[in-house]
């Protein structure tokens, strides 16, 4: 059998794309707040205002003529990330982890010239990576140094943690780790592994690659059962605070762990995908409906996190 039945999916509480769009995104996400998440520069501003930590902004290229002066900014740094402020699905992100003479090094070890970096920035300005091709700005951000405890679980890339936050409650989380197949990117459809994370403990529950279960990292061979996210107690409140920052009822918070500065919000997403369900091996619907049924959902961030841990944490249930 190549197909399952709608009844079975429903029994597992799986949220489908149509239902996500109609019943959650369009109902709980007011369009006027979209720019806060669709524009990463604005996200950074609201995050800083809320005193939530984010990677440091090294520079912004807003106009074509500034592209040539990019090298002056980049001279100061040997590692950085160039990304479009309005990119979607991780498109147009250039990660530089070092230098080799006149060349920059990508995480894969591939060398790119300064001209390549400038062309990339120019493409960003022209709107190549933004929705609908509207003109964009390029951001240069500091590179996140991921905690070395994850070296075994990631191949050449920065793993991130995606937390689905509904009405301010964290409802489900997963870690996305890059593989050789995903070219160091944490994009699941490119072959990154999604690891479901227990909301209560930060420990791995289940892992999938290409929507199929895996137990070991395909490149490093590390066992996902051994994975535990440090600073878990700081990650959920940070993700949950995305609700106050953006007023978006249904959002995905992408969080990275810097070895020195701890958890940081990398970006927020108003249309988070459904792969988190596969990574966790369970559906979102029962959790979303539990929160919709709450009589007094106006709680403080800490209370919301506590509620989520108690209700949706794996250890709590056992």
């Amino acid at each position: 059998m190549f197909f399952t039945t709608p009844a079975k999916l429903h029994a597992h509480g799986m949220l489908g794309m149509n239902r996500r769009n109609v019943s959650y995104i369009s109902r709980y996400n007011d369009r006027r707040y979209y720019p806060l998440v669709d524009n990463k520069l604005k996200t950074k501003q609201v995050a800083e205002k809320a005193e939530a930590s984010t990677p440091k902004l090294l520079g912004v290229v807003e106009h074509q003529y500034q592209v040539n002066t990019l090298s002056h900014i980049l001279e100061l740094y040997s590692e950085f990330v160039v990304k479009p402020a309005q990119g979607s699905q991780g498109k147009g992100i250039l990660v530089i982890t070092g230098r080799d003479g006149d060349y920059y090094l990508k995480p894969s070890g591939e060398r790119v010239s300064e001209a390549d970096v400038m062309r990339h920035s120019s493409n960003i300005l022209s709107g190549l990576y933004s929705l609908g091709g509207k003109p964009d700005v390029a951001m240069v951000e500091s590179l996140v140094h991921f905690d070395s405890v994850f070296d075994d679980f990631s191949y050449e890339g920065v793993p991130d943690i995606r937390v689905i936050v509904f009405k301010g409650f964290p409802v489900m989380a997963m870690m996305r780790v890059s593989t050789k197949a995903s070219d160091g990117k944490a994009n699941l459809h490119q072959g990154a592994v999604g690891v479901g994370i227990d909301l209560a403990t930060g420990k791995a529950l289940h892992a999938v690659q290409y929507d199929r279960p895996v137990s070991h990292h395909p490149d490093t061979g590390a066992h996902f059962a051994d994975l535990a996210v440090p600073h878990w107690d700081r990650i959920l409140p940070l993700a949950a605070s995305g609700y106050e920052m953006t007023q978006l009822g249904y959002l995905g918070a992408d969080i990275v762990l810097d070895v020195n500065q701890g958890p940081m919000i990398l970006e927020l997403n108003a249309r988070p995908g459904l792969a988190v369900q596969i990574a966790n091996g369970t559906g979102l619907l029962p959790r979303l409906q539990a929160i919709e049924a709450l009589r007094h959902p106006d709680m403080s961030t800490d209370d919301r996190v506590a509620y989520a841990i108690e209700q949706f944490g794996n250890t709590a249930k056992q």
């Binding site: 197909f3 709608p6 999916l9 149509n18 074509q64 498109k91 120019s122 459809h189 490119q190 199929r212």
Partner: protein, 512 residues
Amino acid sequence: MSARVQVYLLAFICISLGLGLTAYKKIELGFPLLPGEQRSVWTVEAKVVFNAEDKPVKVSLALPDSDPNDIVISQDFASPGYGFGWDSEGVQRRAEWARRNATGPQTLFYRLQLFHAPVRTPLEASTPPEVIDFSHLDESTRIAADSLVTHITERSADAKSFANELVRLLNNPQSNMDMSLLLNTENNSSMGQKVAIMMVVLNRAKIPARIARGLHLEDGRKRQTLTELIELYADPHWILLDPETGDTGTPDNFLLWQRGGVSLLDVEGGSNSRVTFSIIENSRPAKALAVALGEDTKAALVDFSIYSLPTEIQNTFKHILLIPIGALVVVLLRILVGIKTSGTFMPILIALALIQTTLFVGLAIFLTIVSVGLWIRSYLSHLNLLLVARISSVVIVVIIIMAIMSVLSNKLGLSQALTVTFFPMIILAWTIERMSILWEEDGPKEVLIQGGGSLLVAVMAYLAMTNTLVEHLTFNFPELLLVLLGIIMLIGQYTGYRLTELRRFQAMVKEH
């Protein structure tokens, strides 16, 4: 009211309005639901010939009554040198030709085009007929007729059965003395003998009756004369009766030309006058007929419709009205199935291009242009061009590819490839650009998924849009757009799983 209820309500209104208007057009205005339906249009030509006697001429011809079952499309009068006028003073509509002076044989034409409805409604009640004066009857005829009336009255219940019995006796005169006598008396009226006898007997029996004349509509008939029928007044309807067979009711394909009235043709200042008829049947598309009639009667749905636009613009609309069908296909395949396409409505544009080029040629052209375009684009990406300049370059390259393909195919004698110009070039260039980015970022597999998805949806849309029934319905019943709108709104509320999700989430369900 919640948004959901509003959607249902609005969709319901749209769908019922659309279906209602469609039903109205079908039933009331006669628009055909299926393409290619044909209706018969009859052309009847009355030819009046007479010899003019070198003095003022006046010709009066009875014209068909406005029977609700016969819809007159056009009528004209060919009568060189004659003045023409209507006379509608009496019960019967008449045409009148007049000329100060004429000599020798004269010919006048009256031509009528009409649509003859196959389903007949009964003839309307009208005033009882004027009593025809039979006072000139001689004694023996009158006695025979009266005796016949007594004889038949005993054997009949009402006017209709009286007439039926009368016809039976007419056809078997040897069984009745009076009838034989009547048939033997000389008949010098303008009517046929049987008709004359019936009129006399019915008159003596005090049954209101009159003569009706008409034509049997049959293709290719020439030099026809009018058939005479008897019309009985059986309150509140008129009943037509065939004096030959006794059949009642209007015969099939029978055009009533004259009901009651005095004479068919009057000629003053001429002799040897005669009127003959010829009949031609033409098939006309039922739609064209409905449009013509709708315009004629100023039916709002026809008068204020696409048909009132110039033909050239109508043809444009023919294509525009197909776009919603493509949109429906896209909606179905994306929301219910979950096929990935590059650009939401790109498939519709491809489908529109395919309509111009035909399916396989179009697909070949599309694949060629996109592959060559991707190859050129990958080279351009090394040249460090700004995005807009690069896409513009791709546009120009695409045009060059098209030009080359057109010239080559022309040399090879393939005319279809010449229609490549219908491909939306800017869109093609953007597609090439996006696919190229997709290739760089997500790899060739994703390009195949999205490109293949786009083509699959485009082909499905093409098949739906080129369906003759769909084409016919969208153009002739544009109000069906409302139905489509309602359906799309309802699908927009669909929160169930997509077909592809049943596959995607399958592994997850299996584990448990």
